[in-house]
């Protein structure tokens, strides 16, 4: 039978920001399959011009409410690299702990509230609170633990207030409490694994290039070299050669490419490039879930996120123990002297690698700014994935309702942060 099919999703639900799905199949032949980002641009790079260096992190934080911590960390790192500021070891640990709080919060939000409803056949997590109350209670507790950690370490979960150029404003007093919370969270995470094992992950693969930071014995989060599964290696400052942004007429977000016409960043990319550096708890979960590098199934990003949750909680426990022995150490650099020059900060935020790049004048005011967002890097890849997915699944005789769900689930698997990608 020759099929005609149309999918037209205007403003996809359960994703951050505004994007549309358009699919057209005529007589069994795929004519069009598009992922269009239509978010309103805010022009952050323009607003940053002329701003004092102390405003850069608070301003770029507002690019995204979900990954505000990551934006601040990339922003601070870019400024510190430009001025040659070295932050004290205690501040490095606190920042990584704050980073882990965000990763856990964001992954938990995505896994339980945005992605899981599709696998359980619900429109949202609200009915799941009735059908699977224990799961939702556990999910809420995990997210609460993440936000509590963010508040203790960085002063607030959404748009944190304690991270400054030069370090972190204060050493938290509640490390003891945090230790207990993280121990309980690890148990909570392991308790929800059986549910994820019941999810039927769509069988779809498309050979993809995966880009992330390179871990040198440590699963990477803040700074370092850039790598891809196609063998590209660059320094942090060479990020432009890794991203190659260009414009697509249907999108307010830019697109990016490297060795192929698109690439992917995010939890699965980090997992694919740095599986070896995962902590044992996370590695054994990967084995349990049967996820091995390199996976080319974009739906596996959900599993990679769950594995990363376990990794960051296990690492948070180590960091807290180390910080308990550093209570009296400084958390701020002694001196911050603005100087003319430029700096890049690369940080692995929940959805992938984020770059901030600032050029400063001698007074510490920004002359030029560039922010390259993970979802910006993923948008072209989502688009090409969708084309192949529709092609494969339509050929298998999937109807348009199922196809719409598959396309929506594909986009959600990337956990896109759309307003962020346009900024």
């Amino acid at each position: 039978m020759k099929l005609n099919m149309d999918v037209d999703v205007h403003h996809l639900t359960r994703v951050e920001g505004h994007g549309n799905i358009v699919v057209r199949v005529r007589e069994g032949k795929l004519e069009e399959a598009r992922w269009d980002v239509v978010e309103t641009p805010r022009y952050f790079e323009v607003m940053l011009k002329g701003k004092h260096y102390t405003s850069a992190a608070p301003l770029t934080s507002r690019i995204c409410g979900i990954c505000s911590m990551g934006h601040q960390l990339a922003s601070l790192r870019a400024t510190e690299n430009a001025f040659g500021v070295v932050i004290p070891p205690a501040a490095e640990k606190l920042r990584l702990l704050a980073k882990h709080a965000e990763t856990l919060q964001s992954h938990a939000l995505h896994l339980f509230f945005l992605a899981a409803p599709d696998f359980l056949g619900a429109p949202s997590a609200l009915p799941i609170a009735e059908s699977h109350p224990e799961v939702v209670q556990t999910a809420v507790r995990i997210k609460g633990a993440a936000n509590r950690m963010a508040t203790i370490v960085a002063g607030r979960a959404v748009h944190p207030v304690s991270l400054h150029v030069g370090g972190v404003q204060r050493m938290p007093k509640e490390l003891r409490e945090l230790k207990d919370i993280m121990a309980r969270t690890l148990e909570d995470l392991l308790a929800v694994v059986p549910l994820f094992e019941t999810f039927s992950i769509p069988e779809f693969t498309r050979e993809t290039e995966f880009v992330s930071l390179e871990g040198n014995g440590h699963y990477p989060w803040i700074g370092g070299n850039l790598v891809s599964t196609d063998g590209v290696q660059k320094k942090e400052q060479q990020y432009l050669e890794m991203t190659n942004e260009y414009l697509d007429k249907n999108n307010t977000s830019k697109w990016a490419r490297l060795s192929r016409n698109s690439f992917a960043v995010g939890a699965l990319a980090r997992f694919n490039n740095n599986y070896k550096s995962l902590l044992p708890e996370a590695k054994s979960l990967a084995k349990k879930l049967g996820l091995k590098p390199v996976s080319h199934n974009p739906f596996h990003n959900n599993l990679a996120q769950l594995i990363e949750c376990v990794h960051v909680v296990a690492e948070a426990q180590k960091l807290i123990a180390e910080l308990e022995g550093m209570q009296n150490e400084p958390t701020m650099a002694e001196e911050i002297k603005p100087s003319k020059g430029q700096g890049v900060g690369a940080v692995e935020v929940p959805r992938g690698i984020l770059y901030h790049h600032y050029t400063y004048d001698a007074d510490g005011r920004i002359k030029k700014a560039n922010c390259i967002i993970p979802t910006t890097q993923n948008n072209a890849n989502i688009h090409y994935d969708m084309y192949d997915l529709v092609d494969q699944f339509a050929a298998q005789g999937m109807d348009s309702t199922q196809l719409e769900l598959m396309c929506s689930m594909l986009v959600r698997a990337y956990d896109p942060c759309i307003s962020c990608s346009v900024h």
């Binding site: 405003s55 409410g65 607030r156 959404v158």
Partner: protein, 250 residues
């Protein structure tokens, strides 16, 4: 008892976003200790970010973000038509927030800078009240979830709620936070409206004025103090412009 024309039962709520970072609507899913009870007290009929249900029968619309493109006009007008009560959620919605910083630049140049020869449509940033009438405003970047809860309780059960107008300093003192001026930082706490519980000074950062101006702020006295501590007019005015909340001044 009816209040603002609404029966006191589970409120049918819609949450909508315009140009924003979506951090304020994220606060709806935060404060986990009361989250399930909070969600139990309201009936969410439309909240695109967390649900595929997109009902139109909401009584209360919480609107996040500012208006910066022509297609957003039609959407906000439709929401205003449907909602019995429209609440502006967060500084972007109340007074433009950081989005309004772009209004200081030439938008044609801004477009060229970001999109080169393929400019995208954009308008000067407007607060929601500049486009449609707004019944209530919850400022903050992000909003304080406690305050959202109290407003919802106020709307369901008519529990009295007064928008705080006192300055942030008062709440800062209640937490016994060391004043950040002592640490050499600028703080807008004396002239900014409280209600946030002063998380910024407690976290080691001066107040940036995200909630807008307090009742009868004494700008003169504030400038004098800030000058004495070595802060310039430029620093003060840049700080006040950051969230766009000091509409009367500068």
């Amino acid at each position: 008892m009816k209040y603002l024309g609404i029966e006191p039962k589970r409120l049918r709520v819609g949450v909508f976003d315009f140009t924003s970072c979506e951090g304020c609507e994220l606060q709806f899913a935060n404060k986990e200790e009361t989250l399930l009870d909070f969600l139990g007290a309201i009936d969410i009929v439309n909240f695109r970010e967390i649900s595929s249900d997109q009902g139109k029968d909401y009584d209360i619309a919480f609107v996040e973000g500012s208006i910066t493109r022509s297609d957003e006009f039609a959407r906000i007008i439709e929401i205003r038509r449907q909602a019995k009560i429209l609440v502006a959620l967060g500084s972007c919605a109340c007074f433009g927030g950081v989005n309004a910083l772009k209004n200081a630049y030439n938008l044609t140049d801004a477009n060229r800078e970001v999109y080169g020869t393929a400019p995208r449509e954009t308008l000067p940033t407007r607060a929601i009240k500049e486009v449609v009438p707004v019944d209530m405003e919850i400022p903050g970047c992000p909003v304080n979830k406690d305050e959202v809860e109290r407003i919802v309780q106020h709307l369901i059960w008519s529990i009295p709620f007064n928008f705080p107008e006192h300055p942030v300093c008062l709440e800062c003192k209640q937490r016994f936070t060391t004043c950040v001026f002592e640490k050499g930082q600028l703080c807008l706490g004396p002239i900014t409206r409280g209600g946030c519980t002063a998380p910024c000074p407690a976290g080691g950062t001066g107040c940036w004025g995200c909630r807008g101006e307090a009742a009868e702020p004494n700008f003169k006295e504030f400038s004098k103090i800030a000058h004495e501590r070595g802060f310039s007019d430029l620093e003060i005015s840049e700080r006040m412009a950051f969230f766009g909340g000091f509409e009367g001044e500068k």
